[in-house]
């Protein structure tokens, strides 16, 4: 049983990490806790569902178009909501509250368009084959999710660490005004970040919609809560942190179900989270914020 539970933890953790990647990216660069990320994630799922079931596109193409569509949605949200607030120098809490409004709006629109009922991808969209290895069962999708989470994280890390673009983004994260004075196109990069983060959210939506067969207008809400926990645990805005935080939360949840009781799952995993934050208030990878006088 232990091996299977370890595998369960790995896949559940990767799901959380996938969701948290875009979430943490937007915080890292824009400094905004974007609470519409859950709704964007949900719409990614629906976009791919429509493309696969109504237009019968192959899944890979549907995934790409869904990412593009959610990316554009992210751009629109940034342009209509976040940008005007930035222009007015709104305090930190204001954009967060504004994105709650965006989330409610998008969720209601999705409910109006698609109804409240749970939907799933058509049968046979992905191979339902599973591999058995002694006591361990793993499906193709589970492997896909873990691989995707790792690959996207690696890609983001390389971009942030090794490219000119990444350097510019880090400069903006450090001090947007100084970056602007250095000639970096701050507004352009903000828009790019919103696009990429939303596209990542959309990709997570497609993968999670595929593997759990539970696409609803409300699928973003519980994920958002876990996502916030993951990025706080990993260190706000840290990309490695999103992965490690996701895996940690997955492991804590699965192991408390396996060896203690499913009744106390959330109490135990969030209790652990609290303890870690007591010791490391800035998360596993976060830097302690200096007080700027």
């Amino acid at each position: 049983m232990f091996e299977q539970q370890l595998l369960n933890a790995l896949t559940l953790g990767s799901v959380y990490a996938l969701f948290a990647l875009g979430f943490t990216l937007i915080f890292g660069v824009l400094g905004v806790i974007n609470l519409s990320h859950g709704a964007v994630f949900m719409l990614g799922s629906y976009a791919a569902l429509l493309l696969v079931s109504k237009v019968s596109l192959p899944l890979c193409l549907a995934l790409l178009i869904a990412m593009l569509a959610t990316g554009l949605l992210g751009l629109i949200i940034d342009f209509l909501v976040l940008k005007p607030l930035r222009a007015r120098n709104a305090p930190h809490l204001i954009p967060m509250i504004a994105t709650i409004g965006v989330a409610i709006l998008l969720t209601s629109v999705a409910q109006g368009l698609f109804g409240a009922q749970v939907q799933r991808f058509p049968f046979g969209t992905v191979s339902e084959a599973s591999f058995t290895w002694g006591n361990i069962h793993i499906t193709v999708l589970q492997i896909g999710i873990v691989a995707m989470a790792l690959a996207l994280m690696a890609l983001l890390l390389v971009i942030m660490r090794r490219t000119q673009l990444g350097r510019a983004l880090r400069a903006i994260a450090e001090a947007p005004k100084a970056a602007y004075l250095l000639g970096i196109n701050v507004e352009g990069l903000f828009l790019l970040t919103s696009f990429v983060a939303a596209a990542l959210g959309g990709a997570a939506g497609v993968l999670i919609g595929l593997s759990f067969n539970a696409i609803t207008p409300f699928m973003g809400q519980p994920m958002l809560l876990k996502g916030i926990a993951v990025i706080i645990l990993g260190g706000m805005g840290d990309i490695r942190g999103a992965l490690i935080g996701g895996l940690f939360l997955g492991l804590a949840e699965v192991m408390s179900v396996a060896y203690i009781s499913s009744d106390f799952r959330d109490a135990i995993s969030f209790g652990l989270l609290f303890l870690i934050l007591l010791v490391r208030p800035s998360g596993l990878f976060g830097q302690v914020l200096e007080r700027k006088a």
């Binding site: 049983m1 299977q4 539970q5 369960n8 933890a9 896949t11 559940l12 799901v15 209601s108 409910q111 109804g115 409240a116 009922q117 749970v118 939907q119 799933r120 049968f123 339902e128 599973s130 058995t132 069962h137 499906t139 999670i208 759990f212 067969n213 539970a214 609803t216 409300f218 699928m219 809400q221 519980p222 949840e253 699965v254 179900v257 396996a258 499913s262 009744d263 799952r265 959330d266």
Partner: protein, 384 residues
Amino acid sequence: MKTSKAVAALLGLIALSLAGLVLAADIRIGVAEALTGPAASYGVSNRSGFELAADEINARGGINGNKILLIVEDEQGKKEEAINVFKKLIFQDKVLMIFGPTLSNSAFAADPIAQQAKVVVFGTSNTANGLTDKAPFIFRNSVMEADVLPITVDAAVKHFKLQKIAVIYGNDDAFTKSGYDVFKKVLEDQKIQVTTTETYAKGDVDFKAQLTKIKATNPDAIVCSCLAEEAASIILQSRALGITVPFIGGNGFNSPKLFEIAKEAADNTVIGTPWSAENKTPANEAFIAAYKARFNADPNQFAAQAYDALHIVAEALKKIKLTGTLEADRLALQQVLSGITWEGATGHFQFRRAAPKDGVEGGYDAQQSAVVSIAKGGKFILLK
């Protein structure tokens, strides 16, 4: 002097004729259902059932010449909204009676308002125990889990010769939790060994940790007090983990969604419900055909119960001479409704008065026998 008297008389006449017009035109019935929010899949089905029944009744000329007018309000599956909607329907729209709300949770909050105003409230999807206690104006035709599950478990145990059973349920939802309480008692009463009891929370999509644990205890079957969508995910994930034993479920399983999501993986699932599409009575077949023609979709239990409920009320209304005085008509309905019997889509129906509590008379529950079905080839057939 004379002219003013004449004007007054004229006005009086106009008022009378207007009142008469309204009286002959429609019987106003409130429908408070969750049309948005997570409970909307049930609320919308309920509404479809009411609309279908109202259209049928009105197409046949209404009740003693009066048409039924449904005033539909969205209570969003929330207690606060249900209370607001009930107040609006009773005091502002001045309805004769109210159908709803969708969830037992909301019913506990909103039904007392109807009881206080002496307005009949008729629930078609409230299965929680105790809802009708001390409230003679509360009616329901939804069969309580406590009546359905013992029959279901008994049939499944005999069919599969079960000895030990694992349990999984959602522990933060009034419906799945109360279903679990009944299952627990039934399993104790029938002296069946429970290998492990696992829980999940609303919004969970990954149940593999719980299922892996269940698999390790090697049960003969899994009892699942869940809603259809969760149940479908649980069944699919258990099959992916190599669990092959049958599932036993309650009312929540009885939705086409189960097979839309899980297909043949759900085979051998045993459920007990007040309604089944496979129940080939003339009334049920007529309902299914009419529903498909109108909505271009398969009906579910919630539509069937709502459909029957409006027909039951229509039966009662046929026996009442409406006076136009709202209080008197509301009272008359309460007195006649309790005695109605009906052969509908859900079979033979009559009310059963809830036992008095602390010397206060109770309301009216459903007296109806459950149908036990088993899933085969992607649909439920009667278990014999």
